[in-house]
């Protein structure tokens, strides 16, 4: 019994010792954990929180998609397409000879060039900055360590040279630098956004912590341009410039009822998809370049005379001798036209006739009329680089200034201004605002001259194409009105050179004008330099196509003289 009690006492004493040991161990462990927790929560809190955020939270930039530029029929002129930028980290780049060969081929690099790049002592080297997504996928399928592919967007211009001056292009940062890309940059670009997200270790986004800034995609811009007519205008200009060995050519086609620009092009042009664009070809000369319009202004000065009632269309003007002295200057006609009517002054493009008619119009009235036709003012199209042109104020006119203003010298206009001014004759005396963006139907005009004067002028302009200086501008089956212009170019010293600008501005069909076209050929040097033969065929080609595409009914299906010459059609159903 005593022995048993002794054993129990020993057991409890030992157990007490063990219990204390375990308790001390647990307390020590708890103390370690507690002190660690205090250390982490108190001393290293900021650092650890930052590290955790770095690993799981990301502020990502949300790309704003740049809007498209499309024509009036939704054909694409400019679009952002995805491309892949392939980079490599040389320090971890490792690939077999076979893979290196394949990689070089996919990246369009020589083996030597690839080796040179991946041996550079840099953190990142570019292998290809513009690789198609398909090829980039093939590159990534090689699973070469250190090779990374990143998606970016690049602007692509499917119309290439044909619409280059119109659409323009963007810089490396995606900002519009020329043309519509610059004109509508804010609308096209949109606004990029930023967002804070939570990522798992595998890179999966599991939560949206905060919208720092909501992105806004750019808007699409629909132009008034018709791609088919733009192409026709470009090809017709190309042909004319090459044929006459000219420096350049420009053309603009307006919808007479709405003022919309249906085509606006220049030749030579450039490909906006390629780098290293020549500065000489970048300007949209239709709106940026000015020239003395010459005889294309005569219809406006004659309109002023008709409006002021100083003459009537059937009045006879004596242009005998073929030259006329204004102050100390001598003005000549190409021929001695003798006594001619006001209509014939326009038809034969007589400078002397225009001066005599203009002399009866007060300078203030003539200047106001020119100004109301838009000469010396911006058209309101707001195209980048648009010029105002030059029209000296009538208060500063000398006698020669008054005379030269009647036949388009001593002033300068852009081609778009000329086309704009002729919308007056196409709209019974109302001028139509010009728009590069698609509009919804006819726009209200501003009255410049009376309907009677406008009708009289349209008839005179028709005679120019029918029997005058612009037979090259005829369009089969349609009545065409227009005026040629041939002006001397001013040299750098301010003196006239033996270089010319041939131009033509026309309207068709005369029965119900639908289109206004202005064409300008700069310095034609072969065959002819007159506006009729150099610019007329471009007008004819472009107008024919426009009338055909828009199904405009013919004035006379086949003109009488053509019937006589070629015989009647085979059958009339």
């Amino acid at each position: 019994m005593i022995n048993t009690r002794k054993k129990q006492t020993e057991f409890f004493e030992l157990s007490k010792l063990r219990r204390r040991f375990v308790l001390i161990m647990l307390l020590s462990l708890f103390l370690v954990l507690f002190s660690r927790a205090i250390y982490l929560q108190g001393m290293e809190k900021d650092f650890l929180q930052k590290e955790a955020e770095n690993r799981s939270d990301r502020t990502v930039k949300l790309h704003a998609y740049r809007g498209k530029i499309i024509d009036r029929n939704n054909n694409v002129f400019a679009v952002s397409t995805p491309i892949q930028v392939i980079t490599a980290n040389p320090s971890i780049f490792k690939a077999s000879v076979k893979k290196r060969k394949k990689l070089a081929r996919l990246l369009s690099l020589s083996r030597k060039d690839l080796e040179r790049r991946v041996q550079k002592k840099k953190k990142e080297v570019f292998l290809n900055r513009e690789l198609s997504p398909e090829k980039a996928a093939q590159v990534m399928a090689l699973k070469i360590p250190g090779v990374i592919s990143n998606k970016k967007y690049k602007r692509f211009y499917p119309a290439k040279e044909v619409a280059a001056h119109l659409v323009g292009f963007t810089g490396i940062d995606g900002y519009g630098l020329e043309g519509i890309e610059l004109h509508s940059n804010e609308l096209l670009a949109g606004n990029p956004g930023y967002k804070k997200i939570l990522k798992t270790r595998s890179g999966r986004i599991v939560d949206d912590l905060q919208d720092v800034k909501i992105p806004r995609d750019g808007q699409d811009i629909q132009l008034s341009i018709d791609k088919r007519l733009q192409y026709t205008a470009y090809r017709a200009l190309e042909k004319a410039v090459e044929k006459h060995a000219a420096i350049s050519g420009s053309a603009i086609l307006l919808d007479a009822k709405t003022g919309e620009i249906l085509a606006m092009t220049n030749y030579p042009s450039y490909n906006p998809n390629t780098k290293g664009k020549s500065i000489d070809f970048i300007r949209n000369r239709v709106v940026t370049d000015i020239f003395e319009p010459g005889s294309t202004i005569k219809p406006i000065s004659v309109s002023a005379a008709l409006e002021s009632k100083s003459i009537k269309p059937h009045n006879i003007i004596d242009t005998s001798a073929g030259y006329y002295k204004v102050g100390r200057s001598l003005v000549r006609d190409t021929h001695n036209h003798g006594k001619i009517s006001v209509t014939e002054v326009i038809q034969k493009s007589s400078n002397i006739g225009a001066i005599i008619i203009g002399e009866n119009v007060k300078p203030k009235y003539l200047w106001n009329t020119l100004n109301n036709f838009g000469i010396g003012k911006k058209t309101g199209v707001r195209f980048p680089g648009e010029v105002r042109g030059k029209l000296k104020h009538y208060k500063n006119w000398r006698k020669t200034d008054h005379a030269s203003a009647t036949f388009g010298y001593g002033m300068s206009t852009s081609l778009i201004q000329l086309a704009y001014s002729y919308t007056v004759f196409a709209n019974q005396g109302n001028i139509k605002g010009v728009s590069i963006l698609k509009t919804k139907g006819p726009t209200p005009g501003r009255r410049v001259i009376s309907r009677k004067t406008s009708d009289a002028m349209l008839s005179m302009l028709e005679s120019v194409v029918k029997d005058g200086t612009a037979e090259h501008a005829k369009v089969n089956g349609y009545r065409v009105a227009g005026k040629t212009g041939t002006s001397k170019k001013l040299g750098p010293d301010g003196k006239y050179e033996d270089k010319y600008i041939g131009s033509f501005v026309g309207i068709a069909p005369v029965s119900n004008p639908k289109f206004v076209i202005a064409v300008m050929i700069d310095t034609p040097s072969i065959e002819s330099y007159y506006g009729g033969p150099v610019a007329g065929p471009v007008f004819s080609k472009l107008m024919t196509e426009a009338l055909k595409i828009y199904s405009i009914p013919q004035d006379n299906f086949i003109e009488a003289d053509e019937l006589k010459r070629e015989g009647k059609p085979d059958s009339i159903i």
């Binding site: 694409v76 397409t81 999966r204 192409y231 053509e562 070629e566 059609p569 159903i573």
Partner: protein, 84 residues
């Protein structure tokens, strides 16, 4: 004692439900993100097709095919029939 036990059980159930809803939310958000990425990929694909269409319907290409392959030309006056 019994009330405490019931409250503990309710607390436990709510805790489980909270964890579950957070899990569901993250799963759904992840799916939404994938869908958004798919939308962008489809937009890129559409752009690619538009460019291709534009290329195929290019005036120069049509003109070349019309003239060379289909032997098309503008009819002369004698070939024109007038419908009245």
């Amino acid at each position: 004692m019994r009330l405490n036990l019931i409250l503990y059980i309710i607390l436990f159930l709510f805790a489980i439900a909270t964890v579950n809803s957070e899990h569901q939310y993250r799963n759904n958000y992840s799916r939404l993100d994938i869908e958004k990425k798919t939308t962008l990929e489809l937009r890129d694909e559409k752009t690619k097709l538009e460019v291709e269409e534009s290329d195929k319907s290019g005036n120069l290409r049509i003109q070349t095919i019309a003239l060379e392959k289909l032997k098309m030309y503008v009819p002369n006056k004698k070939e024109v029939k007038v419908i009245k």
